[in-house]
Structure formats: structure tokens, C-alpha cells
Symmetry: D3
Amino acid sequence: MRNTPDIITFGEVLLRLSPAENRKLTQAKSLDFFFGGTEMNVGASLAVLGESVKHITAVSDDLVGEAALASMRHYGLDVADVQKVAHPMGQYILEVGSGMRSSQIAYNRLNGSFANIQPENIAWDTIFENAQFFHWTGITPAISEAAYQALKAGLVSAKERGLQITADPAYRSNLWQYGRKGQEVLKELVSLSTIFIGGVNEINEILGTSYGLDKDGFIAASKKLIEECPSITQIFDKIRTGMSASWQKIYGRAWVDNTYFETSELEITQVVDRIGTGDAYAAGLIYGLLHFDAEKALNFANAACALKHTILGDVNLVSVAEINEVMQGNTGGRIKR
Amino acid sequence: MRNTPDIITFGEVLLRLSPAENRKLTQAKSLDFFFGGTEMNVGASLAVLGESVKHITAVSDDLVGEAALASMRHYGLDVADVQKVAHPMGQYILEVGSGMRSSQIAYNRLNGSFANIQPENIAWDTIFENAQFFHWTGITPAISEAAYQALKAGLVSAKERGLQITADPAYRSNLWQYGRKGQEVLKELVSLSTIFIGGVNEINEILGTSYGLDKDGFIAASKKLIEECPSITQIFDKIRTGMSASWQKIYGRAWVDNTYFETSELEITQVVDRIGTGDAYAAGLIYGLLHFDAEKALNFANAACALKHTILGDVNLVSVAEINEVMQGNTGGRIKR
Amino acid sequence: MRNTPDIITFGEVLLRLSPAENRKLTQAKSLDFFFGGTEMNVGASLAVLGESVKHITAVSDDLVGEAALASMRHYGLDVADVQKVAHPMGQYILEVGSGMRSSQIAYNRLNGSFANIQPENIAWDTIFENAQFFHWTGITPAISEAAYQALKAGLVSAKERGLQITADPAYRSNLWQYGRKGQEVLKELVSLSTIFIGGVNEINEILGTSYGLDKDGFIAASKKLIEECPSITQIFDKIRTGMSASWQKIYGRAWVDNTYFETSELEITQVVDRIGTGDAYAAGLIYGLLHFDAEKALNFANAACALKHTILGDVNLVSVAEINEVMQGNTGGRIKR
Amino acid sequence: MRNTPDIITFGEVLLRLSPAENRKLTQAKSLDFFFGGTEMNVGASLAVLGESVKHITAVSDDLVGEAALASMRHYGLDVADVQKVAHPMGQYILEVGSGMRSSQIAYNRLNGSFANIQPENIAWDTIFENAQFFHWTGITPAISEAAYQALKAGLVSAKERGLQITADPAYRSNLWQYGRKGQEVLKELVSLSTIFIGGVNEINEILGTSYGLDKDGFIAASKKLIEECPSITQIFDKIRTGMSASWQKIYGRAWVDNTYFETSELEITQVVDRIGTGDAYAAGLIYGLLHFDAEKALNFANAACALKHTILGDVNLVSVAEINEVMQGNTGGRIKR
Amino acid sequence: MRNTPDIITFGEVLLRLSPAENRKLTQAKSLDFFFGGTEMNVGASLAVLGESVKHITAVSDDLVGEAALASMRHYGLDVADVQKVAHPMGQYILEVGSGMRSSQIAYNRLNGSFANIQPENIAWDTIFENAQFFHWTGITPAISEAAYQALKAGLVSAKERGLQITADPAYRSNLWQYGRKGQEVLKELVSLSTIFIGGVNEINEILGTSYGLDKDGFIAASKKLIEECPSITQIFDKIRTGMSASWQKIYGRAWVDNTYFETSELEITQVVDRIGTGDAYAAGLIYGLLHFDAEKALNFANAACALKHTILGDVNLVSVAEINEVMQGNTGGRIKR
Amino acid sequence: MRNTPDIITFGEVLLRLSPAENRKLTQAKSLDFFFGGTEMNVGASLAVLGESVKHITAVSDDLVGEAALASMRHYGLDVADVQKVAHPMGQYILEVGSGMRSSQIAYNRLNGSFANIQPENIAWDTIFENAQFFHWTGITPAISEAAYQALKAGLVSAKERGLQITADPAYRSNLWQYGRKGQEVLKELVSLSTIFIGGVNEINEILGTSYGLDKDGFIAASKKLIEECPSITQIFDKIRTGMSASWQKIYGRAWVDNTYFETSELEITQVVDRIGTGDAYAAGLIYGLLHFDAEKALNFANAACALKHTILGDVNLVSVAEINEVMQGNTGGRIKR
């Protein structure tokens, strides 16, 4: 169906294990599992929306790696350039919260297969041959030197080829254990990107600034980021208000072409799964930027993100038609026969 | 326990398949299943309330048909007049929505066992021997000529015997593929009935009118319907407001004996299953009309419908006692020990 | 880890069976099960919080009793003094309600293993050796003469040793079938206790009074209780407002040292399991009284109780850290990585 | 479908709970459940074979009793004469063995709903109006005086009406706690019966004899039984050899009209469920005696019993066609499309 | 990974639904499901073995079709040429037998999406561009005229291009309802093929002959087939002996280059799933013919088939390494760490 | 119940994850999980048999570690000396084989919590205070230097105190990655032990000899081992013959006091779970040596091992009574009521 992928994503794939029914691990009957990871989630969500997407990663050379590959193919991802290495895949165990009880995660991802990816074996130039978008996040360079080198090489290649490069520079302080400093690396890599998916907190972390979280702060921070990283031309932010683990509100805001715009707020009163909602936002945004103008793209992203809260697992499985319905305000839940 | 059923229902029984946990089919672990169908749901809900009910239908002459029969018996339905035919049972796959995500249904019911029912083998006169109510919906005549003929013969027989005939004339446009026109047929069959379970939309569809949805529109439409179909003496409507797929409000309104009345609104903040809630309303109404006056019947129907939203599956499994509690305003969820 | 338990709990352990997914028993696919009982729940919740707790009970001398012991050990309870008797363990089947549909329970506990406990084989003096707290409820003396005698002997011993004795005098009218009168017995046993966990309803039941449910009524009733049972020095109450079976509000109030205080109200919009929430309150209170002053203890108890609504099963599995978060107002459900 | 049942069965209905996957209760994830009981199993198996059967019992007047009724109806049993009493239903927990590990059962059935059946409220004469067979087992009179009285009244009525009365006089020593002696009662009740389903062990228990288990012993014991209980005219035995809990062999033998005959041996190498296999034999026998001669009936019973080992639950769900296949030697397991 | 598939398979994809634990549908808790179909099973098994395979079919244009596509991608099949049509996908419900109880299937596949495939929209010449093998079975031309026409066009194109064409001419009498005669059509299509996967029964059906089932009959029938359909050069047969549904023996035999050879017999004492074992044999054979000589290919096919009996679902998920182990006689089940 | 444990076990606790129903990971619906590890399995099996056992290990300081502790307590193990360290717990994913398909394991245990145990924080002298047995295996010194040092310190302490020390010197070549050589270390540690649980293969690995596997070889190897490691006084071996992954035979043989003896062979035709069967043998042996003479101990061990094949999970959950039954030859699987 898809010969030359339009979109390339790059990042770790983790095995997520979690008890059903909001159970704690000590009382779990069995563990549900999903393969995911922030960048793969973006890629898979885009594949479900109908885009041609290739995901670059390294999986373990055992039965778990085989299952990860099958899962990626299931979503429609092209896995032809996935490496297999002799280290176990990273994983995490998730206890899903509810109401005022937060979800909790126990990670087991250090020195896993992705951390041991071989940068020299990624043929970025071939991979990017007909691509339009390259997506990365701040998780990847936090994992290992190899992951950092692989990503940087990809960014350099993508920039040369003139791809749109979406950066989601999430800073996760409990990673970054291999020596490099997060702030420095993230600034370097954002400087190689064109679209910034993040807000005031992320800008403050990267630039060491302290802008406020309100609209004025967001605009000022955006201007500063563009000043520091002039390849960045568009900044898309997402504001979440958590009433509880089960009840959330979100809206998007953006600074594009020296203009501010924002979406209306969407309310999710029964959260099925919060993992991957930010990735659904990024995927919606990339889809939107491929097909619409920036403002409609932001609305599409926000609706995609809201709908992801109703989907179990890491990947957003909703269709373009379902997102359009929500963008048109049809949120009353009529049965589609 | 029940020798001569008081209530007769007639219609297709479908195998409903759906993933648990609001999963999409592509990620389902297994499929829950229920046998149901709008008319069977009404009958089974009435049987659970303690009434004696016989359901007339045609099931497949294979292991699926056996399981459908067992399921009907389970609810307490008399299945002595169910036909077995050499066509597979109709079915549908349901993806249960949540929040702003709608439920989606994929049907597989064309040319199934019910479409191939043999009208000449239904002994309506014997079946109606001691019956007081006959219930039908607009789904049945939409399925096949045989289903239409069988229903019409039943209505003629029931009318002769002076039964109360409840018509739920739902118009489903993606059915009606065998040749006849829905509007025409529904008007003909409503003219053979005595109680109309539907509102302005249904009346407009049948009569080709365009009354408004407000109270005045409802009253005007009701008057017009009685003018056109003078055997109809009572009209019961249900107004649903969907905040989301998981959060709904309902109330009932009626036009009986030239009088308008309505119930208070009930709010369901956590919908377990929306399928069959309209059928629970119809069943509650029939129960109410057998035991109470029309206004109390409407309140009973509305409470039954609200409670059905908390029950998984097609059939309302709540008891008369539980409905009474809700009618008395006890909706705070105390544990019954 | 724990050689001499600080806290002793005493009471029946029941096998709880319930269908998942809010199903009715008639449509259940299988039954989830938990071992619990109001006093064991208090003990187990305290063990999960890190306290050393011994539970005294009698289980059946068969495979069910073995499983009950394993379950108690799982939570961290010391089971060294549990008796085994040749009677089946009590049990109940729970249909979990939702929204306006109440949960329903069918009990099977008469003449079970706990009812046949041998009072003479409980070495209370040894058990209490280094203990600080003894917890009992009004369920225990309602079950059988043996249970009453065993409890009374324990209270006498605990009082002599100067333990804090927490009384949760729930009056359950469908128990009390062996001859003694609930009101009389409860008053006798409360008179042997030091901390009363209950409110106006419980005081009215025990004393035969009719105080009002408001704050003034609570204060007056508390004063009267202390007058009648002068060993009682602290009274802790919990006020619940049920919007529905799935949506509840709770706050605590207390009368301690001639002073009234209360907590703010916490709202649980998606109840996972209501069973054991009162026991979580009692456990939180005992933990609080061991570590904090009475007012902070009440806040701790209220937060523990609120969080229990998000935990499946009888026992509160949340940690001290999670309760502290809620006490500090962090109820927005951020993911803990 | 069935107005006047041909076959009447009478006995306790129990709730059977068991972990799946051969798990022990201490490690069970949830409990599967079935309603059954030796006499109900016979009745339900006959209903599945297409016979009209009424089961007489007493269930609890709560949600468990409702589920038991639904389950009986599911199988096709007529439940019009089932009593509801205010005692919990009996139950047992079954750990399913495998290989050399035996299954284990923990009962909880003393003083349950069936033990409290009201003999005076069973209208045996009406129930037997058009019946041909009445089936009872030695479990029933072992449970309570009321159960004994009810059974005896039924036997007297059935004998007067000339029904065939099948006696399966299983002697279970851990029952019989209400005062009467098993041996005495069983002999009395067998004397009111016409067909004995049992072998040398059962005859020795009832008559206090000590015949050997071989063919000669069986013939001698049969002759003695007919001498002592002259209403008995046919004796049908089943010989089981257990290689392990998962691997069993069975064959049937009989003494009818002064003639001995036996079936070939059938081997079940993968037992799915052993509970109810004896009941499947009894049901097969009754079906056979209704439709065939005694020798073919025995073969039918043996094949039905063998097939039951492949069916989960208490009741034999196989069809006449499946039993015929096995009788014809088609045991190779070809797929039926 | 795979740009130009080596192997093309063509045929219907069905939704298979079946209760777990050998349950009958009437007692199923939920239904497991798999997408499969004889030709897709062959293709997917080959993809799991590492081959590049494209499957041609038509799925429904709804949520079920989407799930079918995801499932095919999961196995590694190229789905770029799958059609979507507005008819529901075929399906079947399978009750899995055990021991002497046969599995039973209820089909619902008439007039489904595959029956309505559009032959004119299959670009066979492009599809076969670099292919080496084309696999078909006798199920396909039995479904509809469109399916027959599509297959015939494919065979003509494949033959022109000189592909190896494997024919598995299973004759299923309850299909063939659209007018054409099975025997005639199958002979025509086998005449366009090069490798015959079938034995004496299949040859007799196609040619109207009556050869015996023994070795001599097989050789004579093979000679006759080659005489009648001279494009056929190799004939591979599989002999199954069913001790029971759970215990089977298989071996392969072949007639290649005027030479007979056969494999040793493999015994499967605990069958997990028999569906798709013949397809595993065909897939093993094609893999073998691509990599080995004909005799080793037959051994590989037999071992693959034997191992498939231990795999749930339609598709053989074992690896080349696992098959090699069995070929080397390592069947003792050591754990691979 | 148990104040001073009689038996001390020491080793890693792993999280075992495996699909049910013999599924491959790629098709798993969810993952069952158990905490286990060869030494913990021995300890837990002994606790289930009624012994007082303390297990020494290090778990992760997160929600997984909490669940591991709860699981150990569940079995009755004393966990008072378990360390918590800031490394994830080791784990493995197990695909359960069937028939001729082997089980497969993917490990993720390098640098986990146990590898990072702190030897200096284990108070061996206190732990051994009243102990009689200390059990270790060859897995432990293969994991890390810390694990080796901890074990060696324990062995030295145990030897000084005169405990019986059971050595199960399994050599796992894919471990031993931290620098030390397995053969050398194992010989050193066996020299500190008194009872050797292993056979010819293990002796050959440790001593670099090449004795044959037959009885004579076993006797010769045993003599040589005692010569080289004179603290060893008893050698117990287990001989397994695998017909398939589902069908196994085992018997035990021993060299004790210059005498050879062996048990009869037990056959398990339906293996439920093979993991932990060797540990069940070791546990049975230790139990036997505590209560019986060496020959009866070996029979007890063999029966315990055979029964473990019928139990899901790592730990042998059978009772002394069940083992006695098998020792007495009662392997026909009668139901225990």
C-alpha cells in the first residue's frame, strides 16, 4: 500500500504491562500488555489515520522482539529498518489510577535493546528518501549515547533534505544517566528542528528561562525560543487540567507566524487510558499540518488528543471521521450503526 | 409457571459480539456476546419483571440457534413457537464508545434466519389465545417480505382479538432493501396498532410531516397521528440528551386521552451499556400499563430505562423493586444487604 | 519484620464473590473473589500502611480456610493465632451496582467457622503483650454466643492492659439471631472501649436516643455517649452523601477533648468499589492516632477512605504517600513515573 | 414446547465454584460457576437431549436463587414447581485435579434452601400427571428430614401411578447428619423404585452384604437385591478405571430379565470435567429406556457418560447425534462442518 | 523489509469465533477470535517462517475489515492489494471438541465480502512481478462466480509467467451453491497448476476415479492425475489417523519424478488446535520446496504440520528452528532458555 | 506461628510472565504472572508443606518489589530479612510449550535487584540461629559478584553452625557474565555443603569428569564427588524422560552411606506446568530428610516432583497428604469430597 513512507518516527519501543480494572499489581489477576513508546505511538496513530509511516528502533533478538514487530505491523507501521540486538526490550509496569488516585509506573528500561542501537547501521539518507516529516522526542537522547548519536545523525540528515522536523522535547529527569546533560543536548537538537511541540515548561527547561504559564508567558517564551533556535517556525502547546485521574480537560494553543491562536476546551469525564494522549496530540498535529492549515491542524490535534482518552493502550485508534465529528461538536455519543 | 402468555413479542434475534473494556475490535482480547433484538429485549425484560411472555422468531438450525434458544429460556421467555430455518442468525459487532467517542456497529443480518421466517407456520390465533399485549417495531417489516407478511398477519389477528398493540416504529434507513417503502408500510402497520411508542421524529417520518421537537410540536404531531391512524389512543415519547456516550439524561412525555404529561428527568453519569435502553422503556411501559394508570406507567418506563443504562447486555435485568426505588427518588446507591 | 504486633483486630473473615463489570449474577461469566470482613479489612489496611498487625479469627479446616490464611498473609497480617474449625467459612455474593442502581448482597454466613470459634482457645493476654490498639465492630457480637464471649473476654483483657480500644458499633439488624439483644450488648461492649468510631445513628441505636444528624445533634449525642460510657474519650464520625452508587462525597467530624472539628469534603466521581471504605476510614484513623494528633488523624482517615473508593476489593491498598498527597490537595491524577 | 413433562427429577441444586486451569483456590484468578446437583444434572441432560423434564427443588429467595432458576431454564428444564425459601443455596468449591492429583471439594450445604424444602407444598399428584419417569438419588434423603419426607411422598405417589422410578442410591457418609440412618432409609426407598442404577458397592451398602466386584459378584448381588426389593426389575452398573484424574475408562453392565450384558469399554484420555459423568450415564439410560431396548439403552448410557468427560460443567450438553456417533465407533474426532 | 513478494496467496479471510476451554457455545463466557482462511493461513505461516508473502482477498468496508487487515499485517502479510467491499466478512463459530467429541462448525459465509470480490480490479501481472509461488485451494472457486473468475485469471497469468502453482483442491460439498459444478471446475484449475497437495480422495473426487487409499492406490492415482493434468509434476499427500480429537498421528507421502517417498509418523497426544494443520503442511511444503529438495521438503511439511497442532489459532506460529528440532527427532519438550 | 525458621533459602526472585492456553506471546490476550525463582520455589513449597522457612533475597524498591513480598508472604515465607534495592526485579517471559513444542524463555535479569544485593547487610548468624537446613543453587553465584559473596558468607556461617546444606549446583552457561568461572566457583561452594542434589551431568560439569549416565556411572561419579568434596555425604539425583512437553516420566536415585537406591518411575501424561518441578523435588527431599529416612525421603521427593507437574506456577502447592497418596500408589484421580 505504502512504498515510500511520508513520515519517519524514531524511538524506543517498550513493553507496557498493567493490571486491568484499576487493580494494584499485588491484586492483579493477569497483566494486559501493549507495545508502545512515545515516538512509536505517534507513528502508529498516524498509520491508523491512513498515513504511510516508518518507525526506526531496535528490538530484542528474542520472542519479545518478535512480538514487538508484529504489534508495529499490526498498526500499519513499516518495520523494514528495525534493528534486532541482543539486549532485552525496555518495559514498564503501570498501575492505572482512578479518581484522586494517580497512576504509578515502575520502569525497567536501562541498558535495553534501544539503548544499544547501532547508529552506524541506520541508513538515514535512504530512509528519508521521499519523507516529509521526521518526529523525535526528548526521551530518546536521554537513554544512551548511542541513541543520542543515532538521533543527531538523523536530524542532520533530515535537515539537509528539508523535512519538517517535529520536536517534542519532554525532559524526564530520572533518565539522562549516561553522562550528557539534558538541557544542553535538547537545545542542540531543537536547533535542528522546525516545529516545537511543547509549551512554557519545556521552553524554560531548555533555555533556562522562567516564563509564566499564562498566554502572555507562552507568547514571550515562544518568541524567545525562535530567537534562540531560529529553525523553529511553529510552536504548539497543550494545556491540561486534571480534575482527577478520570476527569480531564484539554485545549491547544499555538504561536505560528507571529500569531497566537487557541482551541476551545474539551472535557473528558471518563478517562479510559491517559497514556499516549500527548502522542495522539502530536500525531493529530502532524496529520493536520499535512492536510490543513495550522489553526485547523491544532483543532484536529486537540480533538484527536481528547478522543485518545477513550481508547485503551498507547496508540490512538480513532479514525479521521471520528476526529472530524468531535471537531464539529458532536460529542453526545450517538451510536453509529 | 406460565401456561398462557399475557404478552407476545415478535422479531429478529441477533448475536451481538463486542469487545470488553471499551476496546476497539483490532485490539480486542475476546468478544463478549449476548443474544438480543429490540422486540426480544422488550419481551425478556418483561419476563424478568415477572410477566409471562412468548417470543416469536426464527433461529438458525445449528449450534448458534440452540444457544439463542437457551438464552431466551434463560430470561424466562416461552420459546415454544420459535421456528428453526437453515440460514445463519443475524449478528452485529459492537465497539462500545466512551465519553465523546460514539459506539459503532457493523451488521451482518441480511438474508439471515429471521428474514427467512415462514409466515404460514405461525399460528397467530392460537398464540394470542389469552394474550393482552402484542409488541412490534419498525425493524421487523424492514428486513424481508416474509417478515413483513408475518407481522401483518399477526397484527390483523391481534386487532381482531382486541389486544393492546404497542408499536415502536423505528425507521432504520439502511434496512428496507427488499423492495417495499418504509414510510408506506409503517403507516399501514401503525394503523393496526393501539399504542404508539415514539415521538415527533417518528411521526414526521411516517406521515411525512415536519412538526417541531418541543412540547407544542409533540402535542400537534400526536393529534395528527391520531387523526391519521385512529386506532392509536396513546402516544408515549422519550427525550434523551447525550452529554457524552457515558453521560445521558432522559425523561418521558405522553399524550393520552387528550392530555399531556411528562416525567422528571433522570441523569445517568456512568453508562454501562446503552443498547436496549429504548427497549427497557417499552417494556417498562407495557408493565406499567398492565398494572398502573398511564402516568405512573410513564414514570415506571422512564425509571426502567434509566436503570437499564447500568446493566450490561441487551436486556433489562432490574426488578420491579429496583424500579420502584428509583421512582421514589432513591438514587444514591446505598448497598442492599 | 514484626515480632510483637502493635495492633490486634478480631472478627469474621468472609469469602466475597462478585461478578466483574457490574454484571448481575445471572449474566456473570465468572466470579471475582476476595477474603475480607470489616475487622480484617481494618487490620489488613493497617498492615499495608506498614503497621504490625495480628488478626484473630476462625477459618474453616478445608481448602477455603487455607486460601483465607494465604490471603491474610499476603496483606501482611500475622495469622499465628487463627483457629481452624470444622465449619464452612461465611461468604457473600455481591452484585456491584452502578449509577442509580444499588449494589446487592446475598449472605451465607450463619453457623460458619467464625460463629463456632472457641473462646477458651484465644490467649488474649499473650496476644496483647506489646499491643497498643485493639479494634472491634458490632458485627462480631451479632454472630453467635461464642463470638460474643470471645470478644468480651478480649475487651476485658485489653482494658486491663490499658490498650486503646476502637469500637465501630455497626448495628446490622438481620444478624443477631442467636438470642442476645443488640442494643444491650453493644452498650456493654462500648463501655469497655476508649474510642468510638460512629455517629449520631449509632449512638441513637445504642442509647435509644434520638439526636439529630446535624452538627449540634452530633455534639449533643457525643456528650451523652461519654456520659453513659465514660471510658470513651474520642468520637469520630464520617458523613457520606451518595449522588449515586458511582459518585459519592465524604467528610469526617469528631468530638475529642470537648472540642468539635471536621475535615473538608472529598468527592469521588468514579467509585471502583465501595465495600471496605468505612474500614479504610477506621484504619486511617488508627494509623493517624498512632502517628499524629487527633485532627490530623481525622484528615488522614478521611483521605484514606476517599482513596479506598478507587481500590477494588475489601482492603485499602494505598500507601501513606498516596494518602499524604490527597491530604495536600493533589487530587488531579498526575501519573507517577 | 412441552406442556406435560415426561420426566420428573427431584433434588438439591448447588452452586459449584471452581478455579479454571486446574488452579488451586489459593492461586485462582476468579471462580467459574455452574448450578448443578446430581438429580438436576440428570434432568438437564435429558432436556438437552430433547426430552420434556420438570425439576423439583427449593432455591434461595435471593439473587442466587434467581440465577439458579435462570440456569435451569437455560437447559430447558421446567421450573414451575420450584420453591423459594429463605435459606442460602448449598454450594461447593471444587479444585479440579489433573493427572495423579485428585480433585478436591469443600462443601457448604448444611441447612441450605433445599434442606428446608416444604414437603407439604409439593403437589406430586399433579406433577406426575402425564409423567413416565421419576428419578431420585441417595443424596436427597441424606440432607434433612424434610428432604426425606418430600422424596418419600413423591415415591409413594409415583409408584401408585405406575411410573418407572430410577434409583441412584449413592451413599455419601459425610451427609446423613440429621438423625436417620442411611442404610435403612435407602433400602426403604429403593423398595419403592423399579430401576436400580448402581452396582455391587451400592447393593452391599444397602443390604449389608459383601458381594465381590467381579461379574459373578454383580449377578449374585443383583439377584439378592431383587429378592429383597421385588419392585426392582432392572439393574444397571457402570465400571470406571481411573488411570489418572485425566485418563479414565468406563463400561456398563446390567442385569435385566435374568440376563447379564455389558458394553465395550470406552477410553477418555483427556478428561475435561469428571463431575456429572455418572449423572450423564443415568440420563443416557433413561433416554435409552424411553426409546430403545435395555441393551441399546446401556450402550447409549455408556457413550453419553464417556462424552460427558469432554464437557465442562455438571450437565451433559451433547446431542443424540453425537452419542450415536460414539456408539457407532466414530471416536477419531473429525471436524463437523 | 520485503519489496516484491516471493509468494502470492489468494482466498477468503473469515472471522473465526470460538469458546475457550472446549466449551459449547451455550455455556461460553466469551468468544476468542482469529482471522484466517485456508489460503491466508498458508501465506501467514510462510510469513512467520520469514518469507515475503502477499495475500489477495476482499474484506468488508467496516470495522471488521479493518481488524482483518491489522491481523494480516500482524503476521507479516503484505495487504497492499486487498479489496474493500460493502459486504460483511464471512465467519464461522467453532466449538472445539476434545477426546471422542468432534469439533463442530457453524458457517456464515454466503454472499460475504470475498464472494463479492471484483476480479477486474486484481492486477495479477503486477502482483506476480517477482513471485515464485502462487497458492490456491478448492474452497475459492466454490464460493462465487466472481471468486472463480478471479482465481482463473490469476492461474492463467501465473502459468504464463512460469510460477510454481500449488493446488490444494479440497472439495467442500456444502459450498458450490452458485451454479458451477465442483468436479469440473477443480479439474480445469488443477490443469493450470504444477504441484498437487492432496491424495487419493482428492484425485478420486476430481477425476471421478476410485483408487484405493493404500500406497499402491496413491501411486496409481498420482500417475493418472499426471496423465490427465500434465502440468502437474509433484504430488504431496498427508495421512492422518485420529485416535480422538485430542490425539492424532500424521505422516506425509509423495510422488515426485516417478518416485515414491514418505516420512516417518509423528504423534500428537495433546492437540491444542486442529484448525489450520493442513495449511501448515502446505506452508511447510512451499517453504521446503523453496529451500530444500522434495524429500526434505516433505519432512519439513510434516514436522510443521505436527507442530501446528500445538498452536492456537489458524496460523502456524512456529519458527524454522522449531521445525528443524522436530525433524531431528527432538520431541521431548526440553525448555529453551 | 513460626518464630525461628527451621529452613533458610537464598536466591533471586523473578517475575514470571506467560500467556495462558499455550499461546505464543504474539497472540497472547494477557499475561499470567507468578513470582518465583529456584530457591524461593523450594522455600515456598516447604512452607506450603507446613515448615517454617525464611527466604533471603533483594527485591526492587517499587511496586513490583511490594508485590513480590506479598507473594512470598502468601506462600507463608518469612520475609523479614528481604532487602529492597533501587534496581528493577529480574523477570522472564515464558511461552509454554505443548506436545513436541518446547517451552521458550526470554530472560531480563541482568543487573536487577538481586544482582545488587548488599552482602554486608545480611546477618547470617542471626538468621541461622535455630535453623536446620540451608538451601542454595548454582544460579545464585552465576548472577553477580555480590550474589556470590553473599552466598559464600552464608555457606561459611551455616557450615560453622553445623546446618545441613543442600546444594543444587545447576550450571546455566548463559549466566556467569560478571567474570568468575562457573566450574571453579561451584566446586568451591559445593565443598562447603553437605547434601548434593544433582546427578552425573552436574558432577561432570563441576569436576570436569565424564562419567556415564547409567547407574554405574552415577555411583562412580558420586564416589568421586565425595572424594573431592568430603563434606558431601548424600547425593540425590532425578532422572527425567520427556516423551513430549506434555508427557514426562521421572524417578529418583541416590547414593547415601555407600548405598545406592532408587524409586519407581512416575508418569505424568498431562503436564500443567513444568517450571519448578526440580524445585519441588528439592523441597520434597528436604521435607523428607527432616521427617523420614533417606530412602523414604527420596520417594517423597519423587512423588512431590510428579505432583508439581499438575500445578500451575513455580511453587508446589500440594499437601503432605496428597504426596502420601501418590507414594501409596493412589494415582487414579478419585474426587476427594
